[in-house]
């Protein structure tokens, strides 16, 4: 063992770990550049290295990228990687109120802790955990996805039924394109653009980031509150106190992350959501979860970094990738002639153990590296004038979306979803339920159809869905998680509560006719979507139709219920539209134009124009000529620099 440890901390490996973590953190912080891509770009480089060094470099960049995803989640409300979705729930509210620096430091501490737990599990518990993961069949994956969906109740902004409608909408979006389980083309309406379906990461960027940009240009308000009067260092002491208060939370979340990571195909996004859900249910704290409770960041970030070590468990022990980046690493090892799977731990123990110590080392290095880069990221976002922030971020969403699968169509889909998300939010349909549906849709559908096929074959559908012990545990947790937000009401109905009437049960103001009409319009649109799906699924084969039809039916029922509730209570949720509509509309309009320009003028020119044009609506005060030149110059420099980096550094084939 000591040999392997010494091997791992050879100067070369140490350097690789350091570079890998730093590069990974930066890549992960850019929405669109995922851990999978970061690792894939590196693969050719690793061919010239020994297998253990190659593994250390890839492991380091992977773990860094998962942590880096937290920056954009906290500072821009946009998860840099899907693993950081739940980080936005509390991270962004914290940043909004001026605690972004604290949130970033907490994310770093949690990531390091989670990463260490995952790597230690890989070191000591890999074979038994790998065997345990195999007990998860299609039914369990289905129920796990449903458990993830139980978070709807928590992330619905004010109206649970609207959350359900949003989640159904997300589940339906996830079915667009060529079906994974039946290979049939669904809901593309003959459009080639929709053939590949809605790519999850680009949808995340659209739904979360575009509304932030639109609202940013609408008013002259600052993006983030500067409560403490600027930079206040790392706030390590405060962060440490939060970690101590969340001792149980961080341990539980790390264990959840490790176990979910060890499930092949589940991955960091589900781990983060499950850990968040559990933390919320057990949570104490001054702030509520979803409104800036640091516990939410602790849970998500420790869980998603624990999936790194956890995901390597099936990858190394079974030769089955635990997470998408693991699939790339597995391929790279195969090319090097290293056989993973059952023989690896016996045949090539030196590689495995050197790598695990390297991963532990990289995780420890993430503490200083992550704190420094985090401080820089916070400073950059906090200090940047709006007129520079908006064009640069808008450009990053475009190039990041393109880079995911080198496809211009995804840019259009991203922008359109962004506008849909903005409009929906104004009517009280938050982005998060839609995202939950979108992320969990394909896992839920595949698990459902597979279980259905197996259940019908053995003639025991009921037993297949409700007769397996692990399923029953997940179902129980799901029920608890669904009911938890309604606990005060349930207690009151049961007549056993002495509490004063909870805040949300106080008589709410009855809305005027115009607001009610707007809400009705919102329900009508979603009802029409559901109806369209029902009509379209009539022409599909049963395997392809069963899932979307079920979801659309639920959606219709909930829409009808919502309309009935609205007419009875005349209670309307939603956000007011603030600031200038023209400025707001200019953001998606400019982005759509840039997307249309890309095939004609090339990426660099389209991006430069987008950057230059968006400085105008984002600028609210009058500016001197020198100020404009400086602003335009710096925006263009950043845009062109990033274009070059993507083209040459990351081998993205930009048109």
């Amino acid at each position: 063992m000591l040999d392997f440890m010494a091997n791992a901390i050879s100067p070369f490996n140490l350097l690789l770990a350091l570079l890998g973590v730093a590069a990974g953190t930066i890549i992960g912080s850019i929405p669109g550049l995922t851990a999978t891509m970061a690792v894939a770009v590196l693969v050719p480089l690793t061919f010239t290295m020994s297998p253990d060094s190659a593994l250390i470099l890839m492991g380091a960049i992977y773990t860094g990228a998962i942590y880096g995803g937290a920056y954009a989640a906290i500072l821009l409300n946009t998860p840099g990687t899907p693993s950081a979705i739940a980080t936005t729930f509390d991270g962004y509210p914290m940043a909004k109120r001026g605690d972004g620096d604290l949130a970033v430091t907490i994310a770093c501490l949690s990531s390091v802790f989670g990463g260490l737990v995952g790597a230690l599990a890989l070191l000591f518990l890999a074979p038994p955990l790998a065997r345990a993961a195999l007990a998860f069949g299609p039914v369990e994956y289905f129920w796990l996805a449903v458990f993830g969906l139980s978070l709807i109740a928590a992330v619905s902004t004010g109206d649970f039924l609207k959350g359900v409608i949003g989640a159904c909408f997300g589940l339906l979006i996830a079915t667009i394109g060529v079906s994974e389980t039946s290979a049939e083309v669904r809901f593309t309406f003959g459009s080639r653009m929709l053939l590949g379906g809605v790519e999850t990461v680009s949808a995340l960027i659209g739904l979360y980031c575009i509304p932030v940009l639109i609202d940013l240009v609408a008013t002259p308000d600052r993006h983030l509150d500067e409560a403490g009067g600027g930079m206040r260092g790392f706030r390590l002491l405060e962060a440490g106190r939060v970690m101590l208060q969340n001792g149980v939370n961080v341990l539980r979340s790390s264990v959840i992350g490790t176990m979910v990571g060890a499930l092949p195909g589940a991955g960091g996004s589900i781990a983060g959501l499950v850990a968040y859900s559990e933390a919320r249910r057990n949570g104490r704290g001054v702030e509520k979860y979803g409104e800036g409770n640091p516990g939410g960041i602790v849970a998500t970030e420790s869980a998603n970094n624990a999936t790194v070590g956890g995901g390597f468990i099936p990858t190394l022990v079974l030769g089955i990738p635990g997470t998408p980046p693991d699939a790339v690493i597995l391929g790279a090892l195969l090319v090097q002639g290293v056989r993973t799977g059952p023989t690896l731990f016996q045949g090539s123990a030196d590689i495995v153990y050197t790598f695990i110590f390297g991963l532990l080392l990289a995780t420890v290095l993430m503490l200083p590296v992550g704190l420094l880069i985090g401080r820089f990221a916070y400073g950059a976002i906090l200090k940047a004038p709006k007129a520079a922030l908006v064009p640069v971020v808008a450009f990053m969403t475009v190039i990041g979306t393109f880079a995911i699968r080198n496809n211009v169509s995804d840019i259009y889909i991203m922008i359109v979803l962004g506008v849909v998300g903005w409009l929906a939010a104004k009517r009280g349909f938050g982005a998060s339920p839609i995202v939950l549906g979108l992320i969990l849709g394909s896992i839920a559908e595949q698990g459902f159809v597979q279980s259905w096929t197996i259940g019908s074959a053995i003639g025991d559908l009921w037993g297949q869905f409700f007769g397996r012990p692990i399923s029953l545990v997940i179902i129980a947790l799901t029920v608890l998680s669904f009911l938890y937000p309604f606990w005060p009401q349930i207690r009151r109905i049961a007549g056993r509560s002495d509490d004063a009437t909870p805040a949300d049960m106080v008589d709410r103001p009855r809305a005027g006719g115009r607001m009610v009409a707007w809400d009705l319009l919102g329900f009508a649109v979603f009802g029409a979507v559901a109806a369209l799906v029902l009509v379209q699924s009539a022409g599909l084969n049963p395997e392809a139709a069963v899932f979307p039809r079920t979801i659309a039916t639920v959606m219709v029922v909930v829409v009808v219920a919502s309309v009935a509730k609205l007419m009875l209570t005349r209670h309307v949720t939603g956000e007011p539209v603030r600031g200038s509509l023209i400025r707001s509309a200019s953001v998606p309009a400019a982005m759509l134009l840039a997307a249309a320009l890309i095939p004609l003028a090339g990426f660099a020119l389209a991006a430069a124009l987008l950057g230059a044009v968006l400085t105008v609506p984002a600028q609210h005060e009058s500016f001197s000529r020198r100020g404009w030149i400086f602003l335009l110059g710096s925006v263009l420099a950043v845009v062109l620099g990033v274009v070059l980096l993507f083209d040459l550094g990351l081998n993205v084939p930009l048109p």
């Binding site: 999978t36 690792v39 894939a40 693969v43 050719p44 061919f47 195999l134 998860f136 069949g137 299609p138 394109g177 060529v178 994974e180 389980t181 039946s182 290979a183 049939e184 083309v185 593309t188 003959g190 080639r192 053939l195 590949g196 379906g197 790519e199 092949p264 195909g265 079974l318 030769g319 089955i320 990738p321 998408p324 693991d326 699939a327 790339v328 391929g331 790279a332 195969l334 090319v335 002639g337 056989r339 993973t340 799977g341 059952p342 023989t343 699968r405 080198n406 496809n407 394909s442 595949q446 597979q450 096929t453 197996i454 074959a457 053995i458 084969n541 395997e543 081998n651 993205v652 084939p653």
Partner: protein, 316 residues
């Protein structure tokens, strides 16, 4: 000193001489995989990469354009550079079956296939501790319990699925096929005991070693890496099938470019070291070059896949 200069000069002359003999490639070559990273298409492309660079002294840059089970990439191929600097991975049965399943943005004929360089032969696998030891035992069990022998496999209308359909007919049995989203999750279901057996590839046998038992492989001859595993043919079933992987270029590329790309892939395939790496990974070599051979091969495969897919209701 003089010797160094002389060797360098010689090397330079040799290099220019080679460059004259073949103006292929015109620069670095973009090798687009229409799937995400980490799958069989990616792995075999990665295996080719260093050999291409050795042979031609130019970079081969691999990028990914996933979506629609490959359809998104294939639908865009014909708009790309035609000078041989863009090549794209193609797969069978995908490019024959998919266009018949609906509007996927391309037709089989739109893709200028220039080489098929390997295939992953279909194989039936069970867990090492399964009571099923031979193909005959599996058939027996399937006869006694119609539909209750459950296979996992990668994809619907895929090589695994078509093999299951064809074999069910040949052996006159009725089994259940559960489609997973890739080989990884199909193997997971097998190892976890969620299914009786897997319609997988010989690569699974390589990856899983002693954890699984291959009952039969769908090859003409036994796989060199598994000399003890019989073929379906040996057991009386004429099943030779698998997922073929190859290279296509944009349709409007010149005949010369098509031939040059075909020759380049053939040259990599001829390298004994490359062959050994492929075989160790459980792949099986194929050599279908551009020209008449390609046309005949595609026609033969269409005749094999389409009736089976039609019968199973995968296509109309």
């Amino acid at each position: 000193m003089i010797r160094t200069i002389l060797t360098q000069a010689a090397a330079a002359i040799l290099a220019t001489g080679l460059a004259h003999a073949q103006d292929f490639p015109a620069g670095s070559v973009d090798y687009i995989i229409p799937f995400g990273p980490g799958g069989e298409s990616d792995i075999t492309a990665r295996l080719q990469q260093p050999y291409f660079q050795d042979l031609y002294g130019e970079q081969m840059v691999i990028s990914y354009q996933p979506g629609g089970g490959g359809a998104v990439g294939w639908a865009q191929l014909n708009g790309m550079a035609e000078d041989g600097t863009v090549i794209m991975g193609i797969n069978l049965p995908h490019i024959i079956v998919k266009p018949k399943q609906g509007n996927v943005g391309f037709e089989t004929e739109d893709l200028a296939a220039v080489y098929w360089f390997h295939y992953t032969p279909d194989a039936i696998l069970v867990r090492a501790d399964s009571e099923i030891e031979t193909l005959d035992q599996l058939i027996e069990q399937a006869r006694a319990n119609p539909r209750q022998v459950i296979f996992s496999g990668s994809g619907k209308g895929s090589a695994n699925h078509l093999a299951q359909l064809q074999f069910d007919e040949m052996a006159d049995i009725e089994t259940t096929y559960v489609a997973f989203d890739g080989t990884g999750s199909a193997v997971t279901a097998l190892l976890g005991g969620q299914v009786t057996a897997e319609w997988g590839y010989t690569t699974v046998g390589s990856g899983q070693g002693d954890e699984v038992r291959m009952l039969a492989v769908a090859m003409e001859e036994r796989h060199p890496a598994f000399p003890d595993v019989p073929t379906f043919k040996e057991q009386g079933y004429d099943l030779v099938s698998g997922a073929y992987r190859g290279i296509a270029v944009p349709q409007d590329a010149s005949e010369e470019v098509k031939q040059q790309v075909s020759d380049a892939i053939a040259a990599i395939n001829a390298d004994p070291e490359f062959q050994q790496k492929m075989i160790d990974g459980g792949f099986a070599m194929a050599d279908v070059p551009y020209g008449e051979e390609m046309d005949a091969f595609m026609a033969e495969k269409a005749e094999e896949y389409l009736p089976a897919a039609r019968e199973a209701g995968i296509i109309e």
